[in-house]
Symmetry: C2
Subunit: 204 residues, 2 copies
Amino acid sequence: MTAGRRRGVELERAILRAAAEELVASGYAGMTMDKVARRAGTNKNAIYRRWPQRAALGVAAYKYVADARTPTVDTGTLRRDALELLRQANASWSSPHGAVLRDLLAAAADEPALLDLLREQAGGGALNAAWFALLSRAVARGEAPPEAVQPRVAALPMTLLRGEYALRGVPALPDEVLVEIIDEIFLPLIRGRGLACPVPLSAG
Amino acid sequence: MTAGRRRGVELERAILRAAAEELVASGYAGMTMDKVARRAGTNKNAIYRRWPQRAALGVAAYKYVADARTPTVDTGTLRRDALELLRQANASWSSPHGAVLRDLLAAAADEPALLDLLREQAGGGALNAAWFALLSRAVARGEAPPEAVQPRVAALPMTLLRGEYALRGVPALPDEVLVEIIDEIFLPLIRGRGLACPVPLSAG
DNA sequence: CTCCTTAAGGTACTGGCGGTACCCTATCAG
DNA sequence: CTGATAGGGTACCGCCAGTACCTTAAGGAG
Protein backbone atom coordinates (compact mmCIF):
# COMPACT_ATOMS: atom_id res chain seq x y z
CA MET A 1 0.00 0.00 0.00
CA THR A 2 1.20 3.42 -0.86
CA ALA A 3 -0.94 4.63 2.00
CA GLY A 4 1.32 7.06 3.75
CA ARG A 5 -0.15 10.10 5.37
CA ARG A 6 -2.06 12.54 3.19
CA ARG A 7 -1.02 16.16 3.48
CA GLY A 8 -1.90 19.60 2.20
CA VAL A 9 -4.02 19.77 -0.89
CA GLU A 10 -4.58 16.04 -1.09
CA LEU A 11 -6.10 15.92 2.37
CA GLU A 12 -8.04 19.07 1.78
CA ARG A 13 -9.66 17.62 -1.32
CA ALA A 14 -10.49 14.46 0.58
CA ILE A 15 -12.19 16.47 3.32
CA LEU A 16 -14.12 18.58 0.85
CA ARG A 17 -15.19 15.50 -1.02
CA ALA A 18 -16.38 13.87 2.17
CA ALA A 19 -18.17 17.02 3.27
CA ALA A 20 -19.91 17.31 -0.08
CA GLU A 21 -21.04 13.70 0.10
CA GLU A 22 -22.42 14.17 3.58
CA LEU A 23 -24.11 17.33 2.40
CA VAL A 24 -26.00 15.68 -0.42
CA ALA A 25 -26.67 12.60 1.70
CA SER A 26 -27.99 14.18 4.88
CA GLY A 27 -28.32 17.89 4.18
CA TYR A 28 -26.51 20.60 6.02
CA ALA A 29 -28.04 19.69 9.35
CA GLY A 30 -26.74 16.16 8.94
CA MET A 31 -23.29 17.22 7.86
CA THR A 32 -21.65 16.54 11.18
CA MET A 33 -18.01 17.33 11.71
CA ASP A 34 -17.43 13.90 13.15
CA LYS A 35 -19.12 12.21 10.23
CA VAL A 36 -17.16 14.24 7.71
CA ALA A 37 -13.94 13.42 9.51
CA ARG A 38 -14.76 9.75 9.65
CA ARG A 39 -15.78 9.61 5.99
CA ALA A 40 -12.63 11.44 4.98
CA GLY A 41 -10.56 9.03 7.04
CA THR A 42 -9.18 11.75 9.24
CA ASN A 43 -10.22 13.62 12.36
CA LYS A 44 -11.79 16.91 13.29
CA ASN A 45 -8.47 18.61 13.93
CA ALA A 46 -7.50 18.52 10.30
CA ILE A 47 -10.84 20.10 9.43
CA TYR A 48 -10.80 22.83 12.03
CA ARG A 49 -7.25 23.72 11.03
CA ARG A 50 -8.68 24.74 7.63
CA TRP A 51 -12.20 25.94 8.34
CA PRO A 52 -12.85 27.55 11.69
CA GLN A 53 -16.59 26.98 11.64
CA ARG A 54 -18.86 24.24 10.45
CA ALA A 55 -20.69 26.73 8.28
CA ALA A 56 -17.45 27.65 6.52
CA LEU A 57 -16.94 24.01 5.65
CA GLY A 58 -20.50 23.86 4.41
CA VAL A 59 -19.97 26.73 2.01
CA ALA A 60 -16.64 25.35 0.87
CA ALA A 61 -18.18 21.96 0.28
CA TYR A 62 -20.98 23.52 -1.71
CA LYS A 63 -18.55 25.45 -3.86
CA TYR A 64 -16.69 22.20 -4.38
CA VAL A 65 -19.77 20.63 -5.97
CA ALA A 66 -21.16 23.67 -7.71
CA ASP A 67 -19.89 23.76 -11.23
CA ALA A 68 -20.97 27.34 -11.86
CA ARG A 69 -22.03 26.72 -15.41
CA THR A 70 -23.00 29.92 -17.14
CA PRO A 71 -26.35 29.45 -18.81
CA THR A 72 -26.67 30.66 -22.36
CA VAL A 73 -29.66 30.52 -24.60
CA ASP A 74 -30.56 32.14 -27.88
CA THR A 75 -33.60 30.63 -29.50
CA GLY A 76 -34.58 33.62 -31.58
CA THR A 77 -37.69 34.73 -29.69
CA LEU A 78 -38.10 36.40 -26.34
CA ARG A 79 -40.68 33.95 -25.07
CA ARG A 80 -38.71 30.84 -25.89
CA ASP A 81 -35.49 32.36 -24.54
CA ALA A 82 -37.13 33.21 -21.25
CA LEU A 83 -38.83 29.86 -20.94
CA GLU A 84 -35.64 28.01 -21.68
CA LEU A 85 -33.65 29.99 -19.14
CA LEU A 86 -36.33 29.44 -16.53
CA ARG A 87 -36.44 25.73 -17.29
CA GLN A 88 -32.70 25.47 -16.86
CA ALA A 89 -32.92 27.22 -13.52
CA ASN A 90 -35.77 24.98 -12.41
CA ALA A 91 -33.83 21.88 -13.38
CA SER A 92 -30.77 23.12 -11.59
CA TRP A 93 -32.63 24.01 -8.40
CA SER A 94 -34.51 20.75 -8.23
CA SER A 95 -31.34 18.74 -8.72
CA PRO A 96 -29.46 17.47 -5.64
CA HIS A 97 -27.06 20.33 -6.16
CA GLY A 98 -29.94 22.78 -5.84
CA ALA A 99 -31.33 21.01 -2.82
CA VAL A 100 -28.03 21.50 -1.07
CA LEU A 101 -28.00 25.14 -1.96
CA ARG A 102 -31.50 25.72 -0.66
CA ASP A 103 -30.71 23.82 2.48
CA LEU A 104 -27.59 25.87 3.08
CA LEU A 105 -29.46 29.09 2.46
CA ALA A 106 -32.06 28.17 5.02
CA ALA A 107 -29.51 27.00 7.55
CA ALA A 108 -27.30 30.06 7.23
CA ALA A 109 -30.04 32.44 8.32
CA ASP A 110 -28.10 33.38 11.40
CA GLU A 111 -24.65 33.44 9.79
CA PRO A 112 -24.76 36.72 7.88
CA ALA A 113 -21.19 36.50 6.63
CA LEU A 114 -21.85 33.26 4.81
CA LEU A 115 -25.12 34.45 3.40
CA ASP A 116 -23.31 36.80 1.09
CA LEU A 117 -21.18 34.06 -0.37
CA LEU A 118 -24.21 31.92 -0.94
CA ARG A 119 -26.31 34.68 -2.38
CA GLU A 120 -23.72 35.22 -5.05
CA GLN A 121 -23.89 31.54 -5.96
CA ALA A 122 -27.66 31.46 -5.71
CA GLY A 123 -28.13 33.27 -8.95
CA GLY A 124 -26.36 36.57 -8.56
CA GLY A 125 -23.78 37.21 -11.22
CA ALA A 126 -23.85 35.11 -14.31
CA LEU A 127 -27.53 34.36 -14.21
CA ASN A 128 -28.52 37.98 -14.02
CA ALA A 129 -26.26 38.75 -16.93
CA ALA A 130 -28.02 36.09 -18.98
CA TRP A 131 -31.39 37.71 -18.36
CA PHE A 132 -30.05 41.11 -19.30
CA ALA A 133 -28.64 39.71 -22.50
CA LEU A 134 -31.96 38.09 -23.26
CA LEU A 135 -33.78 41.37 -22.81
CA SER A 136 -31.28 43.28 -24.91
CA ARG A 137 -31.64 40.84 -27.77
CA ALA A 138 -35.40 41.16 -27.58
CA VAL A 139 -35.13 44.92 -27.80
CA ALA A 140 -32.79 44.65 -30.76
CA ARG A 141 -35.33 42.42 -32.50
CA GLY A 142 -38.08 44.88 -31.70
CA GLU A 143 -39.81 42.37 -29.48
CA ALA A 144 -39.59 44.55 -26.40
CA PRO A 145 -39.48 48.25 -25.66
CA PRO A 146 -36.13 49.65 -24.50
CA GLU A 147 -37.69 50.49 -21.15
CA ALA A 148 -37.88 46.79 -20.42
CA VAL A 149 -34.12 46.51 -19.98
CA GLN A 150 -34.05 47.20 -16.27
CA PRO A 151 -32.60 45.30 -13.28
CA ARG A 152 -35.89 44.66 -11.60
CA VAL A 153 -37.45 43.32 -14.78
CA ALA A 154 -34.46 41.11 -15.47
CA ALA A 155 -34.55 39.66 -11.97
CA LEU A 156 -38.30 39.09 -11.94
CA PRO A 157 -38.57 35.55 -13.32
CA MET A 158 -35.92 34.19 -10.99
CA THR A 159 -37.53 35.95 -8.05
CA LEU A 160 -40.86 34.37 -8.90
CA LEU A 161 -39.22 31.00 -9.27
CA ARG A 162 -37.67 31.38 -5.83
CA GLY A 163 -41.05 32.42 -4.52
CA GLU A 164 -42.66 29.27 -5.87
CA TYR A 165 -39.97 27.14 -4.28
CA ALA A 166 -40.50 28.89 -0.97
CA LEU A 167 -44.25 28.47 -1.20
CA ARG A 168 -44.35 24.89 -2.31
CA GLY A 169 -42.11 22.22 -0.96
CA VAL A 170 -39.15 20.41 -2.37
CA PRO A 171 -40.18 18.86 -5.66
CA ALA A 172 -39.43 20.32 -9.04
CA LEU A 173 -41.95 22.82 -10.32
CA PRO A 174 -44.28 21.57 -13.05
CA ASP A 175 -43.68 23.15 -16.39
CA GLU A 176 -47.07 24.86 -16.40
CA VAL A 177 -45.92 27.08 -13.57
CA LEU A 178 -42.94 28.22 -15.58
CA VAL A 179 -45.16 28.92 -18.57
CA GLU A 180 -47.49 30.90 -16.34
CA ILE A 181 -44.66 32.97 -14.92
CA ILE A 182 -43.61 33.90 -18.42
CA ASP A 183 -47.01 34.30 -20.07
CA GLU A 184 -49.00 35.77 -17.20
CA ILE A 185 -46.37 38.00 -15.66
CA PHE A 186 -43.11 38.45 -17.51
CA LEU A 187 -44.35 39.09 -21.03
CA PRO A 188 -47.33 41.22 -20.00
CA LEU A 189 -45.02 43.31 -17.88
CA ILE A 190 -42.67 43.89 -20.80
CA ARG A 191 -45.60 44.86 -22.97
CA GLY A 192 -46.91 47.15 -20.24
CA ARG A 193 -43.61 48.92 -19.87
CA GLY A 194 -43.96 50.11 -23.41
CA LEU A 195 -46.90 52.27 -22.49
CA ALA A 196 -45.68 55.16 -20.38
CA CYS A 197 -49.04 56.17 -19.03
CA PRO A 198 -48.87 57.43 -15.47
CA VAL A 199 -52.58 58.10 -15.59
CA PRO A 200 -54.93 55.10 -15.44
CA LEU A 201 -56.03 53.61 -18.69
CA SER A 202 -59.66 54.03 -17.83
CA ALA A 203 -61.21 57.06 -19.45
CA GLY A 204 -60.97 55.21 -22.76
CA MET B 1 -47.30 34.89 48.99
CA THR B 2 -50.20 33.34 47.17
CA ALA B 3 -47.65 31.37 45.23
CA GLY B 4 -49.17 27.97 45.10
CA ARG B 5 -48.53 25.72 42.19
CA ARG B 6 -49.78 26.81 38.79
CA ARG B 7 -51.81 24.31 36.84
CA GLY B 8 -53.53 23.82 33.52
CA VAL B 9 -54.22 26.91 31.48
CA GLU B 10 -52.40 29.23 33.83
CA LEU B 11 -49.16 27.32 33.49
CA GLU B 12 -49.65 26.90 29.79
CA ARG B 13 -49.95 30.64 29.30
CA ALA B 14 -46.86 31.18 31.42
CA ILE B 15 -44.89 28.76 29.27
CA LEU B 16 -46.10 30.30 26.03
CA ARG B 17 -45.28 33.74 27.33
CA ALA B 18 -41.78 32.65 28.30
CA ALA B 19 -41.25 30.91 24.97
CA ALA B 20 -42.38 34.01 23.10
CA GLU B 21 -40.00 36.17 25.08
CA GLU B 22 -37.11 33.84 24.40
CA LEU B 23 -38.11 33.79 20.77
CA VAL B 24 -37.93 37.54 20.33
CA ALA B 25 -34.86 37.78 22.55
CA SER B 26 -32.66 35.09 21.02
CA GLY B 27 -34.46 33.85 17.94
CA TYR B 28 -35.63 30.33 17.37
CA ALA B 29 -32.15 28.89 17.60
CA GLY B 30 -31.75 30.50 21.01
CA MET B 31 -35.12 29.37 22.26
CA THR B 32 -33.83 26.54 24.39
CA MET B 33 -36.19 24.27 26.22
CA ASP B 34 -34.20 24.73 29.41
CA LYS B 35 -34.24 28.49 29.08
CA VAL B 36 -37.95 28.56 28.42
CA ALA B 37 -38.57 26.33 31.40
CA ARG B 38 -36.38 28.45 33.63
CA ARG B 39 -37.97 31.68 32.47
CA ALA B 40 -41.43 30.25 33.00
CA GLY B 41 -40.44 29.14 36.47
CA THR B 42 -41.05 25.49 35.70
CA ASN B 43 -39.23 22.56 34.13
CA LYS B 44 -39.04 20.82 30.81
CA ASN B 45 -41.48 18.11 31.82
CA ALA B 46 -44.36 20.52 31.92
CA ILE B 47 -43.44 21.69 28.42
CA TYR B 48 -42.97 18.30 26.85
CA ARG B 49 -46.26 17.19 28.33
CA ARG B 50 -47.93 19.82 26.11
CA TRP B 51 -45.71 20.07 23.02
CA PRO B 52 -43.87 16.97 21.93
CA GLN B 53 -41.23 18.83 19.93
CA ARG B 54 -39.34 22.04 20.30
CA ALA B 55 -40.59 23.13 16.90
CA ALA B 56 -44.19 22.70 18.05
CA LEU B 57 -43.54 25.01 20.94
CA GLY B 58 -41.94 27.47 18.55
CA VAL B 59 -45.01 27.58 16.36
CA ALA B 60 -47.32 27.83 19.35
CA ALA B 61 -45.24 30.65 20.78
CA TYR B 62 -45.34 32.47 17.48
CA LYS B 63 -49.08 32.14 17.27
CA TYR B 64 -49.25 33.46 20.81
CA VAL B 65 -47.59 36.70 19.71
CA ALA B 66 -49.06 37.00 16.26
CA ASP B 67 -52.12 39.15 16.38
CA ALA B 68 -53.29 38.20 12.91
CA ARG B 69 -54.58 41.65 12.07
CA THR B 70 -56.33 41.73 8.76
CA PRO B 71 -54.99 44.60 6.70
CA THR B 72 -57.52 46.80 4.99
CA VAL B 73 -56.90 49.81 2.84
CA ASP B 74 -59.08 51.83 0.53
CA THR B 75 -57.48 55.10 -0.54
CA GLY B 76 -59.39 55.52 -3.77
CA THR B 77 -56.61 54.83 -6.27
CA LEU B 78 -54.90 51.61 -7.25
CA ARG B 79 -51.42 52.97 -6.81
CA ARG B 80 -51.95 54.36 -3.33
CA ASP B 81 -53.82 51.23 -2.23
CA ALA B 82 -51.01 49.00 -3.38
CA LEU B 83 -48.33 51.18 -1.88
CA GLU B 84 -50.12 51.34 1.43
CA LEU B 85 -50.63 47.59 1.60
CA LEU B 86 -47.00 47.01 0.74
CA ARG B 87 -45.87 49.50 3.36
CA GLN B 88 -47.95 47.77 5.99
CA ALA B 89 -46.41 44.44 5.07
CA ASN B 90 -42.93 45.92 5.15
CA ALA B 91 -43.52 47.43 8.57
CA SER B 92 -44.93 44.18 9.86
CA TRP B 93 -42.06 42.09 8.53
CA SER B 94 -39.37 44.36 9.87
CA SER B 95 -40.94 44.43 13.31
CA PRO B 96 -39.71 42.00 15.96
CA HIS B 97 -42.79 39.94 15.23
CA GLY B 98 -41.74 39.66 11.61
CA ALA B 99 -38.18 38.81 12.55
CA VAL B 100 -39.45 35.91 14.59
CA LEU B 101 -41.56 34.71 11.71
CA ARG B 102 -38.68 34.85 9.26
CA ASP B 103 -36.44 33.09 11.73
CA LEU B 104 -38.96 30.34 12.26
CA LEU B 105 -39.48 29.92 8.55
CA ALA B 106 -35.78 29.49 8.01
CA ALA B 107 -35.36 27.14 10.94
CA ALA B 108 -38.28 24.93 9.99
CA ALA B 109 -36.79 24.00 6.64
CA ASP B 110 -36.48 20.38 7.70
CA GLU B 111 -39.82 20.18 9.55
CA PRO B 112 -42.30 20.02 6.67
CA ALA B 113 -45.34 19.66 8.90
CA LEU B 114 -44.68 22.95 10.62
CA LEU B 115 -43.89 24.74 7.42
CA ASP B 116 -47.52 24.56 6.39
CA LEU B 117 -48.72 26.20 9.57
CA LEU B 118 -46.18 28.95 9.19
CA ARG B 119 -46.84 29.52 5.52
CA GLU B 120 -50.45 30.20 6.32
CA GLN B 121 -49.41 32.81 8.84
CA ALA B 122 -46.73 34.20 6.56
CA GLY B 123 -49.23 35.96 4.38
CA GLY B 124 -51.44 33.28 3.00
CA GLY B 125 -55.07 33.87 3.67
CA ALA B 126 -56.11 37.32 4.74
CA LEU B 127 -53.32 39.15 2.98
CA ASN B 128 -54.04 37.56 -0.35
CA ALA B 129 -57.67 38.44 0.01
CA ALA B 130 -56.73 42.06 0.57
CA TRP B 131 -54.79 42.16 -2.68
CA PHE B 132 -57.66 40.59 -4.56
CA ALA B 133 -60.04 43.15 -3.15
CA LEU B 134 -57.67 45.91 -4.15
CA LEU B 135 -57.55 44.65 -7.70
CA SER B 136 -61.30 44.25 -7.91
CA ARG B 137 -61.87 47.79 -6.74
CA ALA B 138 -59.41 49.04 -9.35
CA VAL B 139 -61.28 47.18 -12.06
CA ALA B 140 -64.58 48.61 -10.85
CA ARG B 141 -63.10 52.08 -11.06
CA GLY B 142 -61.79 51.39 -14.55
CA GLU B 143 -58.22 51.67 -13.37
CA ALA B 144 -57.32 48.16 -14.37
CA PRO B 145 -58.46 45.67 -16.99
CA PRO B 146 -60.48 42.71 -15.73
CA GLU B 147 -57.69 40.38 -16.82
CA ALA B 148 -55.60 41.79 -14.00
CA VAL B 149 -57.67 40.05 -11.35
CA GLN B 150 -55.64 36.89 -11.23
CA PRO B 151 -53.93 34.99 -8.39
CA ARG B 152 -50.43 35.41 -9.71
CA VAL B 153 -50.88 39.12 -10.19
CA ALA B 154 -52.36 39.52 -6.74
CA ALA B 155 -49.49 37.66 -5.13
CA LEU B 156 -46.79 39.46 -7.07
CA PRO B 157 -46.01 42.41 -4.79
CA MET B 158 -45.71 40.25 -1.69
CA THR B 159 -43.53 37.79 -3.57
CA LEU B 160 -41.23 40.60 -4.62
CA LEU B 161 -41.16 41.93 -1.07
CA ARG B 162 -40.16 38.49 0.17
CA GLY B 163 -37.54 38.35 -2.54
CA GLU B 164 -36.04 41.63 -1.38
CA TYR B 165 -35.93 40.40 2.18
CA ALA B 166 -34.21 37.22 1.07
CA LEU B 167 -31.73 39.15 -1.02
CA ARG B 168 -30.87 41.85 1.47
CA GLY B 169 -30.40 41.26 5.13
CA VAL B 170 -32.51 42.02 8.12
CA PRO B 171 -33.28 45.72 8.10
CA ALA B 172 -36.49 47.25 6.92
CA LEU B 173 -36.67 47.98 3.22
CA PRO B 174 -36.34 51.64 2.24
CA ASP B 175 -39.49 53.14 0.88
CA GLU B 176 -37.98 53.67 -2.57
CA VAL B 177 -37.85 49.93 -3.06
CA LEU B 178 -41.55 49.65 -2.37
CA VAL B 179 -42.27 52.46 -4.78
CA GLU B 180 -40.16 50.74 -7.41
CA ILE B 181 -41.97 47.46 -6.95
CA ILE B 182 -45.27 49.20 -7.55
CA ASP B 183 -44.24 51.63 -10.28
CA GLU B 184 -41.74 49.54 -12.18
CA ILE B 185 -43.40 46.15 -11.96
CA PHE B 186 -46.88 45.97 -10.53
CA LEU B 187 -48.57 48.82 -12.37
CA PRO B 188 -46.85 48.21 -15.73
CA LEU B 189 -47.88 44.58 -15.48
CA ILE B 190 -51.49 45.53 -14.89
CA ARG B 191 -51.37 47.88 -17.84
CA GLY B 192 -49.71 45.20 -19.96
CA ARG B 193 -52.37 42.66 -19.16
CA GLY B 194 -54.87 44.86 -20.88
CA LEU B 195 -53.21 44.26 -24.23
CA ALA B 196 -53.86 40.70 -25.29
CA CYS B 197 -51.22 40.46 -27.99
CA PRO B 198 -49.66 37.03 -28.24
CA VAL B 199 -47.58 38.22 -31.16
CA PRO B 200 -44.69 40.58 -30.39
CA LEU B 201 -45.38 44.24 -30.56
CA SER B 202 -42.60 44.70 -33.09
CA ALA B 203 -43.81 44.75 -36.66
CA GLY B 204 -45.32 48.15 -35.97
C1' DC C 1 -62.19 15.72 56.26
C1' DT C 2 -59.92 11.88 53.82
C1' DC C 3 -58.29 9.53 50.04
C1' DC C 4 -56.78 9.12 45.50
C1' DT C 5 -55.98 10.51 40.97
C1' DT C 6 -53.76 13.98 38.40
C1' DA C 7 -50.34 16.97 37.11
C1' DA C 8 -46.45 19.95 38.46
C1' DG C 9 -41.60 20.15 40.36
C1' DG C 10 -36.90 18.43 40.74
C1' DT C 11 -33.16 16.09 39.20
C1' DA C 12 -30.51 13.22 36.78
C1' DC C 13 -29.52 10.97 32.69
C1' DT C 14 -28.58 9.55 27.50
C1' DG C 15 -26.84 10.63 23.23
C1' DG C 16 -25.30 13.77 19.97
C1' DC C 17 -23.37 17.93 18.69
C1' DG C 18 -19.65 21.90 17.89
C1' DG C 19 -15.46 23.08 19.26
C1' DT C 20 -10.84 22.68 21.96
C1' DA C 21 -6.64 20.69 24.18
C1' DC C 22 -2.93 17.65 24.27
C1' DC C 23 0.12 14.58 22.94
C1' DC C 24 2.06 11.31 19.55
C1' DT C 25 3.97 10.58 14.93
C1' DA C 26 4.80 10.86 9.92
C1' DT C 27 6.51 13.94 6.49
C1' DC C 28 9.38 17.16 4.31
C1' DA C 29 12.80 21.03 3.98
C1' DG C 30 17.20 22.36 5.26
C1' DC D 1 20.33 13.87 10.28
C1' DT D 2 17.45 17.21 12.48
C1' DG D 3 13.88 20.13 13.54
C1' DA D 4 9.73 22.56 12.30
C1' DT D 5 5.23 21.45 10.46
C1' DA D 6 1.04 19.22 10.12
C1' DG D 7 -1.77 14.95 10.33
C1' DG D 8 -3.71 11.37 13.66
C1' DG D 9 -5.90 9.79 17.97
C1' DT D 10 -8.33 10.61 21.80
C1' DA D 11 -10.29 12.66 25.47
C1' DC D 12 -12.67 16.37 26.92
C1' DC D 13 -16.03 20.71 27.76
C1' DG D 14 -20.38 22.83 27.40
C1' DC D 15 -24.73 22.85 25.41
C1' DC D 16 -28.80 20.94 23.79
C1' DA D 17 -33.16 17.81 22.81
C1' DG D 18 -35.57 14.52 24.78
C1' DT D 19 -36.53 10.81 28.54
C1' DA D 20 -37.06 8.50 33.09
C1' DC D 21 -38.21 8.50 37.74
C1' DC D 22 -39.55 9.96 41.81
C1' DT D 23 -41.49 13.47 45.02
C1' DT D 24 -45.08 16.72 46.12
C1' DA D 25 -48.92 19.89 45.66
C1' DA D 26 -53.72 20.45 43.99
C1' DG D 27 -58.38 19.33 43.58
C1' DG D 28 -62.31 16.42 43.17
C1' DA D 29 -65.22 12.32 44.92
C1' DG D 30 -66.86 10.02 48.62
